[in-house]
Amino acid sequence: MAIKNQIKQSLIIAFWFMILTFPIMVIKVNTIRHTIDFRWANLVGVGIVTFFASMTWNYFLRRNEDQKKKEMDDDIPLIHRLLQNDRFRRPFLGVVAAFFLAYPFVFPMYHTSIMISALVYVMLGLGLNIVVGLAGLLDLGYVAFYAVGAYAYALLNLHFGLSFWVVLPISALLGTFFGVMLGYPVLRLRGDYLAIVTLGFGEIIRIVLENWDSFSNGPRGIGDIPAPTFFGHQFNQENTMVYIYFIVIGLVLMTIFFVNRLENSKIGRAWIALRDDEIACQAMGIDKFKTKLTAFALGATWAAMGGVVFAAKTSYINPMSFTIWESITILCVVVIGGMGSAIGVIAGALVLILLPEYLRAVSEYRMLVFGALQVIVMVFKPDGLIKSVRKVYTFNVQEKAIHEQTNT
């Protein structure tokens, strides 16, 4: 029964594709002899290939659904099981730490440079994860805050000679400030409307940077941005890359540390509750607007810090680095990685940023392959590469009894 329907559906799809591709696959105009060739064999080919592709696609989709029904919520991703298991946690984290420590010394500078980009996206992803994954606010203008950070470093250095380490905290504050300023008017909107307006705001910032020549140097951008110094010491080019690499590692660790604490606090609970049910949340005394604004502003804080690192690494920035495309990429990192899951976001950033770099081998089809992979992930793993497993509060009854005994 189901199989019959399946075949029927696939036949229709195949037929439809045959019609769609008819003009390009079948008709061929011979310009020399002024005749038209009909390549009927191609038509048959398209039909057969589409039919089988559709059948396999459906087969995997159904298998996926069956599995989901069986497992329900119990399928905790492997990596979480590893991390929860005391025997594996230490060795696992040890291997990961050793890998990242050794990385810049083992691989050539080019790879270190790519890894830095990926790690900056980890930071951005974790920041956006607060906004999208935890608080459930679809923000398509996230890149605006990234730009704020990058331009803050470039301009403050250009005009006042402020160094990387001075600008980093300043830009974090600037990010928060811009987050509040932009969030204030737009956070009254919800869902799609919020997405559209944030998209607009992101573009406004870029267009301002492009056109306010006297302020931002317009489309020419700003160059000669110095790399970070180590207590006043400037490394050579290669060592600078290594140095920035470790700065980013440090920042990523700090991000994970703070985001984790936020997530497991009063405010983190409020974000998750707000995502679940706004009305009930307000009835519990949670200020909807303030809670959303906090998420938005905190996300912006991390974006701005990411921007500073980006500017320091590339030493040249212009508005073209901060297009809507960038926002989409960061959003993909969060969604493909696994919304709400820090480990997922890290995996997402590494895959999404490293993959296109290494796919340069198949350069022409790079974006095509990349897009196809994303679609496949979304179809077969709708929760992202690594599903979010929230640390829930568990109450230990015995613990409480002891607690009370000591109190009385």
Binding site: S265, I267, M284
Partner: protein
């Protein structure tokens, strides 16, 4: 001298042409268990929504006099501020946080009584840790009071229906209210669960110093629990009085019991 704890005067709520509430006045005394009854669509839930700030009433006065405090108006306040002032509610269609455990649901209720902000959440000084720990134990104690402690670490969605309704009450209680608004708390409960709910509501009034206003269709429950009953029909208040008065009131019988006798 003793002002009513909740005083609603001439409340009107229009949705376009429809007057869901039309000039309704209701006042609730401290320590009362009051009921708001009426046929489906009479405007009962809308009444709750107007008090708790989910809707802003088209017209009318909503005043509270919390025990030991001055009279203040609630009109135009956002729902979270109404909750902060000490009014908690449950929902007719259960609105628990599905992705959270039972304990966490109650902890969300504690939210507005906790003081730690973002900076403290990130730095986790001892004061913040203690507060979190206290929120956990407080929430557990509330669950014990309501009799849900055995579910403490379960996901809220996995609870039996009756327990979900009780969890809504536990969560409301966590906000430290003086007035509790219950929207059809017995809906979907079996007779045993309804009996337990009856006991719980009485217990809450007597031991937690709560004033309770409940919307309910279960006439047996309403008649046995309530000190005072308000009846609305088509957005208009048609009667109020003791359960005996209401049972004998011909308008009520016509409007409510006549229409919905199978519900009673």
């Amino acid at each position: 001298m003793n002002k009513p704890i909740l005083n609603v005067k001439n409340l009107t709520m229009s949705f376009g042409g429809l007057k869901a509430l039309d000039d309704v006045s209701i006042s609730i005394e401290k320590g009362q268990i009051a009921a708001l009854i009426g046929p489906n669509g009479a405007g009962k839930t809308t009444f709750f929504n107007c008090i708790t700030g989910i809707y802003e009433p088209t017209k009318g006065v909503v005043e509270i006099t919390p025990p030991g405090k001055n009279t203040q108006s609630l009109r135009g306040l956002k729902p979270n501020y109404v909750t902060e002032r000490g009014i908690a509610r449950t929902f007719q269609n259960i609105r628990l946080f599905h992705g959270m455990t039972v304990l966490e649901n109650v902890m969300i209720g504690r939210h507005c009584r906790l003081s730690s902000g973002i900076i403290k959440a990130m730095l986790q000084p001892p004061s913040q840790k203690n507060e979190e720990q206290k929120a956990v134990t407080d929430s557990y104690e509330i669950l014990e009071k309501i009799g849900l402690e055995k579910y403490v670490n379960d996901m809220a969605v996995n609870l039996p229906y009756g327990a979900q309704r009780r969890l809504e009450i536990a969560r409301a209680l966590a906000t430290d209210p003086f007035l509790l608004l219950l929207d059809e708390p017995a809906a979907g409960m079996n007779p045993q669960e309804t009996k337990e709910l009856d006991d719980l509501i009485l217990w809450l009034r007597d031991n937690e110093n709560l004033t309770i206003l409940l919307i309910e269709h279960d006439m047996k429950l309403v008649m046995s629990l309530s000190d005072w009953i308000h009846v609305v029909d088509y957005g208009k208040k048609i009667a109020e009085g003791t359960p005996e008065d209401i049972k004998a009131n011909s308008d009520v019988i016509k409007a409510y019991l006549g229409d919905e006798s199978d519900d009673a």
